[in-house]
């Protein structure tokens, strides 16, 4: 019934939505940021612990749709242990792909994250996928406590 949309709602998305990874409050976070999508009311609180330029730990809390939850969950898995610079590059790549600036058909270097490339076909949902990443980018830049997709 939902065949056409399976390119977006893949099993990986359902899995991460049901059991989001690193879904917890982090008491010893070095930075904490609230992300908000005013369009749909999705909220995310992102915690990161940065030591010597390395993201030692990353976690999130909040309520969102399957796309934003899966995106946040996958993001935490990817950027943990990476340098701030590497995480920023991931943000750039993910942003280019989900907003259609990079039109390649497959994204092997994205690994598991590639499932979210399908969001390109659903402009109304792009912000769901990018909210966690915008929050991360803001946290890396050490910006104000709250970030919005608008």
């Amino acid at each position: 019934m939902f065949d056409e949309i399976r390119d977006l709602y893949q099993e990986v998305v359902f899995d991460h939505n049901r059991n989001p990874r690193n879904f917890r409050v982090m008491e010893d976070a070095t930075r904490k940021i609230d992300g908000f999508n005013p369009l749909c009311g999705d909220r995310i609180t992102l915690y990161i612990k940065v030591n010597d330029g390395i993201i030692e730990d990353v976690s999130f809390q909040g309520s969102g749709c399957a796309i934003s939850t899966a995106s946040a969950s996958l993001m935490t898995e990817i950027v943990r242990g990476q340098s701030e610079e590497q995480a920023h590059e991931w943000f750039e790549l993910f942003h280019r792909i989900t907003t259609g600036q990079d039109e390649r058909a497959s994204f092997e270097e994205l690994g598991k994250l590639a499932v979210l490339a399908g969001v390109r076909a659903y402009p109304a949902r792009v912000k769901c996928a990018t909210l966690p990443w915008h929050s991360l980018e803001a946290a890396l830049k050490n910006e104000a406590e709250s970030v919005s997709t608008e």
Binding site: F2, I5, G41, A66, A124
Partner: protein
């Protein structure tokens, strides 16, 4: 049901023949905006093809024709809500502008520091933010009357104080569907000499409104939720109040005489209609009203109530579905949440089935906070919706639950 034929009504709406993702469109986002019947679409083109010029200005024939049609539309609006006079019908861009007009004109002239404006817990942002702006400008205070879990106003706690200067209440809630006891509210407020604005954006398409019977002081609604065009709306105000209010925008058409020293303002309703109005929009709104009166607002209300009841019963049978807004008196809105499935996902998946619903906070974030949900899915019905479409919605929701496991 004699006379009411949704099949015939559907044939009047060209857009209902659209296919979305290969499926016939099922449009259940009517509380956001309704679709337009051919009569409205044709009225719009007819103005531009045959009768268009600026209004209230020219001595030439076309300007006279456009003016007659424009003023004719005002008369249709007057009759539709049973206002006492054409002077009480001010054309604006929509409900939002109407409320802002009252806030900035009536409000700034009559409400001062420490005075109170009373709204309810179920208001749309457009009946919250204009008052917050006014409060910032004047030092007035915004008070909020509470509702219960069903989404009904708690009348015992609808308390006016010595300082209440204005009451502004949704006739029908866009997020919950609740129909408020507006006649009673007007009585309560008038008992203390306080005027009442009713936000009629949601109520007007779903039943007959009689502003004189309600005795409200202001009534605001939008054309686009009433099967008319977007960009046109109406502020009804009692002549006595409108007369005493200062203009809120200056410009052409709202003046009688201008020198560099001073200006004399035009009479009602033109005092509040600065600049060239949405001429074709107003005329097309008149066409929408003609169309609706051809069907009959009572018949529409009765049919929609049956649809709502049917949808509600079916929805209740779905495990994990929670209806948000269960007031005893409701208009045709079914707002709900599903366990484990976010409204945004429901919206995207239903769209795959050709079903258009709204997923989000419905510009009523305080209502979402009250129910502690980030958002809801909202199916809102119009006179062209059918019982089969309700079945498709319910079927779609069940499939979504299966997919999400």
């Amino acid at each position: 049901m004699s006379g009411f034929d949704p099949g015939r009504i559907r044939a009047d709406f060209p857009i209902l023949g659209e296919f979305i993702h290969g499926k016939p469109l099922i449009y259940l986002d009517n509380a956001a905006s309704t679709q337009k019947p051919r009569a409205v679409i044709e009225a719009t083109s007819r103005v531009y093809e045959h009768d268009y010029a600026n209004v209230h200005r020219g001595v030439h024939t076309l300007s006279q024709r456009a003016t007659d049609l424009f003023e004719g539309a005002r008369e249709k609006v007057r009759a539709f809500i049973n206002a006492g006079s054409d002077k009480e019908i001010v054309f604006v861009r929509g409900t939002t502008e109407a409320i802002n007009l009252v806030a900035q004109s009536y409000g700034r002239a009559n409400i001062g520091a420490g005075d109170e404006i009373l709204i309810t817990a179920m208001e749309h942002h457009s009946n919250i933010v204009p008052w917050q702006l006014l409060c910032q400008q004047t030092g007035a205070v915004l008070k909020v009357a509470p509702m219960n879990q069903a989404g009904e106003l708690i009348l015992d706690r609808f308390e006016l104080s010595e300082r209440t200067r204005l009451v502004s209440v949704a006739h029908m809630s866009n997020a919950l569907g609740t129909l408020n006891p507006v006649k009673r509210i007007v009585e309560l407020a008038h008992g203390r000499g306080v005027p009442v604005l009713l936000d009629g954006a949601q109520a007007v398409p779903h039943g007959a409104v009689d502003v004189q019977a309600l005795d409200c002081d202001f009534y605001a609604f939008s054309g686009h939720k009433l099967y008319g065009p977007s960009g046109i709306g109406v502020l009804y105000g009692k002549a006595k109040l409108l007369d005493a209010m200062p203009p809120w925008q200056g410009g052409g058409d709202m003046i009688r005489m201008v020198t560099f020293e001073r200006s004399e303002y035009n009479t009602l309703p033109y005092k509040f209609e600065a600049g060239t109005p949405d001429i074709a929009g107003a005329i097309a709104l008149g066409a929408a009203i003609d169309y609706l009166q051809g069907i009959g607002m009572e018949a529409i209300a009765e049919y929609e109530q049956r649809l709502l009841h049917y949808a509600t019963e079916k929805a209740k049978a779905i495990r994990g579905l929670k209806i948000i807004g269960e007031a005893a008196e409701k208009g045709a809105i079914l707002s709900f949440t599903l366990e484990h499935v976010h409204p945004h996902d429901i919206g995207t998946l239903l769209d795959q089935l050709g079903i258009a619903v709204r997923a989000g906070h419905h510009c009523a974030m305080p209502v979402m906070d009250f129910y502690r949900v980030p958002a809801t899915t909202r199916a809102s019905f119009a006179c062209y919706n059918t019982f089969e479409e309700v079945d498709a919605l319910i079927e779609g929701v069940q499939q979504i639950i299966e997919v999400f496991g």
